[in-house]
């Protein structure tokens, strides 16, 4: 059993244990775990509508996961994906409804770019705080999350003339398509999934093919050696956060231009940003891993919506399961040790 295999087994085992513990929690609370998981399954794969919605849910998760993973690879913990995503959502929705008279092949990319820039800017602030003032990015980004929430709400109130949400975006900025709608019984599935997958390639390219990626990784792993070799640690930290925020902002664009086609006032966080952490962790911060993690968690979160209806179980059970999976992955060392013990037993050591 090579190291590579162990690296894949740890997340897989963590997921399995998480699901088992989730079943125990359900049972202890007096719910029927079997019904629960069937409802979950149906919520994901039940029919073309649910499949469409599941893929739609996975889309922003990929981007949130990329954001966190990219930051992690460069030594930074970006917990601010939530706030960056909210800002991206607001920016995309605004450009989507307020800019008129543009053809689709300009308007849509423009809205996407606006979202990317908004998210990038929001993360840039945290990057500067870290690079120049040595403010730990964990606290800074968490504070920025709350600031984003209130600021975007205030902006929406202004844009909506005191209302709760902005006008619907123009068709020329929308990611939706009648074709997809007809295929999935009018789910909200949209072309954003292509954007997300494209960004996966972008992340891979930046990190594994460019000199900039080499620098970002060096700075992330050992900023002393990086500095000594002539790299600017400050610039790379800021750049890493900014690129990470760009992915997050695009995640917000998915919601603005695909799922909802507007932006509304929020009473709390969307949760996508935090789940992005789970996605990145499960995917070991690699582009392919992020796709796997996003698929898993996106499916779970979408499937959860079916659980109150079909099995009478609150949707929060899935959040509990996701949190547990993170615990198990984070404690992966133990699983690793057990696997290695098993390994050496097999080889007759």
């Amino acid at each position: 059993m090579s190291n590579r295999v162990i690296n894949i087994l740890v997340p897989v085992i963590s997921v399995i244990i998480g699901l088992i513990v989730g079943a125990i929690v359900m049972a202890v609370s007096g719910y029927n775990a079997v019904d629960g998981y069937i409802a979950l399954w149906n919520g994901i794969f039940g029919d073309s509508y649910t499949i469409g919605e599941t893929i739609r849910q996975i889309t922003p998760y990929i981007l949130a996961g990329l954001a966190v993973a990219f930051a992690f690879r460069t030594g930074l913990f970006n917990i601010g994906v939530e706030g960056q995503l909210i800002m991206g959502w607001a920016a995309a929705a605004y450009v989507g409804y307020a800019v008129e008279g543009l053809p689709k092949f300009i308007h849509l990319p423009l809205a996407l770019i606006a979202a990317a820039l908004a998210g990038a800017f929001w993360a840039f602030i945290a990057g500067v705080l870290k690079a120049r003032f040595n403010v730990h990015e964990v606290i800074a980004t968490i504070m920025l999350n709350y600031i984003a929430l209130h600021v975007s709400n205030a902006l929406i109130k202004v844009w909506a003339d005191g209302g709760d949400k902005t006008q619907r975006i123009l068709e020329t900025a929308s990611l939706r398509s009648p074709f997809l709608e007809s295929m999935t019984q009018y789910s909200r599935l949209h072309w954003g999934i292509i954007v997300a997958l494209l960004m996966v390639v972008v992340m891979w390219f930046i990190l594994d093919k460019t000199t900039r990626g080499y620098e970002l990784k060096a700075v992330g792993f050992n900023h002393h050696a990086a500095e000594y070799s002539g790299m600017s640690v400050r610039r790379n930290i800021i750049l890493a956060m900014t690129i990470s925020g760009m992915f997050a902002g695009l995640g917000g664009a998915m919601e603005a231009l695909g799922t909802f086609e507007y932006v509304g006032i929020k009473g709390g966080f969307t949760g996508i940003g935090f789940d992005g952490i789970a996605v990145a962790l499960l995917g070991a911060n690699t582009p392919l891993g992020v796709i796997f993690g996003a698929t898993l968690f996106g499916s779970l979160q979408n499937g959860a919506l079916n659980m109150p209806n079909e099995a009478g179980i609150p949707t929060e059970i899935v959040s509990i399961i996701i949190a547990l999976i993170i615990f198990f992955v984070a404690s992966g060392y133990v699983i690793r040790v057990l696997l290695e013990k098993f390994n050496s037993k097999k080889e007759g050591k």
């Binding site: 606290i139 504070m143 509990i320 996701i322 615990f327």
Partner: protein, 319 residues
């Protein structure tokens, strides 16, 4: 409203909003001083807030007047137990402490809300009937000017918070336990060679932080919102961590910082009744505590030093 009137209005609110922060922040100090970063304070506060309300609702007939205090006790115990979700992975399983803390936040919120829906069939609890009493501190309340500001109509929990801060200072700096705790956070290997059980000290540190965060959350829900929903705790746990950093990991400094943040929170909520302040667009008041936190971290952090070994798992036998 004269300036003095404004003070009479805002200071009690500031103390009142600061009390949960003080408790949670002092807890965080214990954890960090022992070398374990506890980002999960928010999650434990949520659980504490939940336990506080639910315990109150269900045992109000049993404990009568004492119910709110009994609820705090329940929150203390549950908070300490819940903190094991951080302690075990971080201390015994070498998990990354920040990641585990984030997961703890997710878990706390999810478990609390799940339980609310399970018990009440809706997204929030009822309102409690048995609340903390407010009273005047005998003697001190009659001091001119300061009396009505600080000692009039005070919640017992605010006094509790301040007492906890002072006791924490004493324990950390004057007792053998405190010396060993600090040693474990600065140089765990040195402490190990002096025969101190590093893992045990860290478990204690984290569980104290869980207990205090639980109490802090319960104080919040039992005095400020009087019920529990998903919106009850929103960022107070992180503000507590910021207060700890602002206060340079010193209990008294932390208490001071928490009072300051309490003031910011109070302004954002009751500012609408104060002249001048009420003219400021609400969004600025809402983001004030968070912006202040960032400024505090950026402005002061240069000189502040976290316990040296904070955040790094201690592995015996590593050279």
């Amino acid at each position: 409203m004269s300036f003095l009137d404004v003070l009479y209005f805002i200071i009690p609110s500031a103390i009142f909003y600061a009390a949960p922060l003080i408790l949670a922040a002092i807890g965080a100090v214990f954890s960090e001083r022992s070398g374990v970063v506890n980002i999960g304070v928010e999650g434990i506060m949520v659980i504490g807030a939940f336990v506080g309300i639910v315990f109150n609702l269900f045992t109000v007939d049993v404990f009568g007047d004492f119910t709110p205090w009994a609820s705090l006790l329940a929150a203390l115990v549950i908070g300490a137990v819940f903190s094991l979700f951080l302690a075990i992975p971080a201390i015994s399983l070498r998990a990354d402490q920040t990641v585990t803390g984030v997961a703890l936040n997710l878990l706390g919120a999810a478990v609390a809300l799940f339980s609310v829906k399970l018990i009440f069939d809706k997204g929030q609890t009822e309102f409690i009937t048995e609340r903390f009493a407010r009273f005047d501190i005998p003697g001190l309340a009659s001091i001119p000017v300061l009396g009505p500001m600080f000692f009039h109509n005070v919640y017992g929990t605010s006094i509790l918070a301040i007492v906890v801060a002072i006791v924490a200072w004493f324990v950390i700096y004057k007792t053998p336990f405190g010396l060993r705790l600090r040693a474990v956070g600065e140089h765990p290997m040195a402490a190990d060679t002096m025969g101190i059980n590093v893992a045990r000290m860290r478990y204690i540190g984290v569980m104290i932080s869980g207990a205090l965060a639980g109490v802090g959350g319960a104080v919040y829900s039992l005095t400020i919102t009087n019920n529990f929903s998903h919106a009850t705790i929103s960022g107070q746990g992180f503000m507590a961590i910021a207060a700890m950093i602002f206060g340079k990991w010193h209990p008294l400094g932390t208490m001071g910082a928490a009072l300051f943040f309490g003031l910011a929170q109070a302004l954002s909520i009751v500012g609408g009744s104060i002249p001048y302040v009420q003219d400021i667009p609400n969004v600025f008041l809402l983001i004030l505590p968070y912006v202040l936190t960032i400024i505090a971290l950026a402005g002061f952090i240069g000189k502040a030093n976290a316990p040296k070994a904070s955040g790094i798992p201690y592995i015996k036998g590593q050279r």
